[in-house]
């Protein structure tokens, strides 16, 4: 195995290294998909910054799969407070609420606000089912966004893009970005150099996880084409309430767990939906993702943790 020690390690070479201690991470290969975990204090030596992703908090849900999603969201926020290094900000990949009700948004804001971090939201389909089709979400979180709530920002040399794929869904289809948003994305990415690390986040996966359950975005290929020229692209999603990962070329796709309830693995149940697990095991299915971006050409390291771990 070729293993150069210079800084020109590309992603493929980096993934070949079972142990990659330089950035304080241990990589393991599982079916071709890298998983990583931090090595205790070695993390402190890493440069760059980290941010956290939470998803699918479904505040307002009250069914047996989790009668108290407020409590599990509070636990997730508590875990963020206990991270060894303070994240730069938080991303919430949608389904903040269950039914887009003002009191649900209020509760979510109060619970998430305890983290004292800037939070960058994108809506899930559950956040835009108020009477005015998403007006409540946009009034609260969309002040700096374009169109139905998409936007971008820069942090630490990386470019972050929040996309919205829960509007104008077509019969028989999956998530939908739409022509207006894709045109905006093309313009947004245009001035960025190919060496800029890109992090894209949206609610419904931007790769097809399970078309029979609508777990994909029908026009995501258009977005991925625009992203193809960049050396490092990380795509973070929610919606499916479980971890799914894929690496394709320079793109890493990752979905986060929910903080409220799990959903079945595709193929293991006749339909998606809240999965009832024994109450004492629920927290093993819920959690958050922490993403570390080191300076240089290394891929982003995504660390998932559960509420029970």
């Amino acid at each position: 195995m070729k293993h150069d020690d210079d800084t020109s390690l590309d992603r493929r070479q980096a993934l070949k290294c079972a142990a990659w201690a330089g950035s304080g991470l241990v990589w393991t290969l599982n079916g071709g998909v890298p998983a990583s975990r931090l090595i205790g204090s070695a993390e402190a030596a890493a440069t760059g910054f980290s941010f956290v992703q939470i998803s699918d908090s479904h505040i307002g849900f009250n069914k047996p799969a989790n009668p108290n999603p407020n409590a599990t969201l509070a636990e997730a926020i508590g875990k963020i407070g206990g991270l060894p290094s303070k994240p730069a900000f938080m991303i919430h990949t949608g389904d903040i609420t269950h039914l887009s009700k003002p009191n649900e948004f209020d509760d979510a804001d109060q619970l998430i606000g305890a983290a004292r971090l800037d939070v960058h939201y994108v809506p899930g389909e559950h956040d835009v089912i108020d009477e005015n089709n998403g007006a409540a979400y946009l009034a609260r979180y969309g002040k700096l966004s374009q169109g139905k709530g998409w936007y971008s920002f820069d942090h630490g040399g990386a470019h972050f893009v929040g996309l919205v794929n829960v509007y104008d869904l077509k019969a028989g289809g999956m998530g939908n970005l739409g022509a207006e948003q894709l045109a905006w994305l093309a313009g947004d990415l245009k001035p960025k150099s190919a060496s800029t690390p890109i992090v894209v986040f949206a609610h419904i996966p931007l790769w097809t996880v399970a078309p029979e359950w609508g777990w994909g975005t029908q026009d995501s290929a258009e977005a991925l084409k625009l992203l193809a020229r960049f050396g490092s692209v990380t795509v973070l999603n929610g919606h499916i309430h479980q971890i799914a990962q894929k690496v394709e070329g320079n793109m890493t796709f990752h979905t986060a767990r929910s903080t409220a309830f799990p959903q079945p693995v595709p193929g293991s149940a006749p339909a998606p939906g809240p999965q009832l697990v024994p109450a004492d095991q629920l927290r093993g299915f819920l959690g958050l993702s922490s993403v570390r971006l080191a300076h240089g050409k290394q891929p982003l390291a995504i660390v998932d943790s559960t509420l029970s771990g």
């Binding site: 089912i129 869904l169 019969a171 028989g172 999956m174 609508g214 006749p270 339909a271």
Partner: protein, 106 residues
């Protein structure tokens, strides 16, 4: 009264998978991310009631006839009178892989 109608509708479903009823009220359930039954035939003027039995909200949309229900939480229902003969295809606005068809006969 509602219960009797539901019962009558349920019996009709049991007797005829592609039921054809006199104008009245018919119920379509939403169970496990599926409209049940997914295809029905009704006489023009029939009121169809969609009832969500899932733990997740759903939304009934038939663009051709500008039908847009509100989001139906668990136990919520939405009724619509189909008065124009023809085929009406509809889907869930939140989970568009869920599809159904109502054939309205004169």
């Amino acid at each position: 009264m509602k219960k009797i109608v539901l019962l009558a509708a349920a019996c009709a479903f049991a007797l005829a998978p592609r039921l054809s009823l006199a104008a009245g009220e018919v119920t379509v359930g939403i169970d496990n991310f599926a409209f049940t039954p997914a295809e029905i035939t009704v006489k023009a003027g029939t009121k169809v009631m969609f009832v969500n039995h899932d733990d997740i909200p759903h939304k009934v949309i038939a663009q051709a006839i500008k039908l847009h229900s509100k989001a139906l939480d668990t136990g919520d229902s939405f009724s619509f009178v189909f008065d124009k003969p023809g085929d009406v295809v509809y889907f869930c606005g939140l989970h568009p892989m869920m599809k159904g068809k109502i054939t309205v006969t004169p």
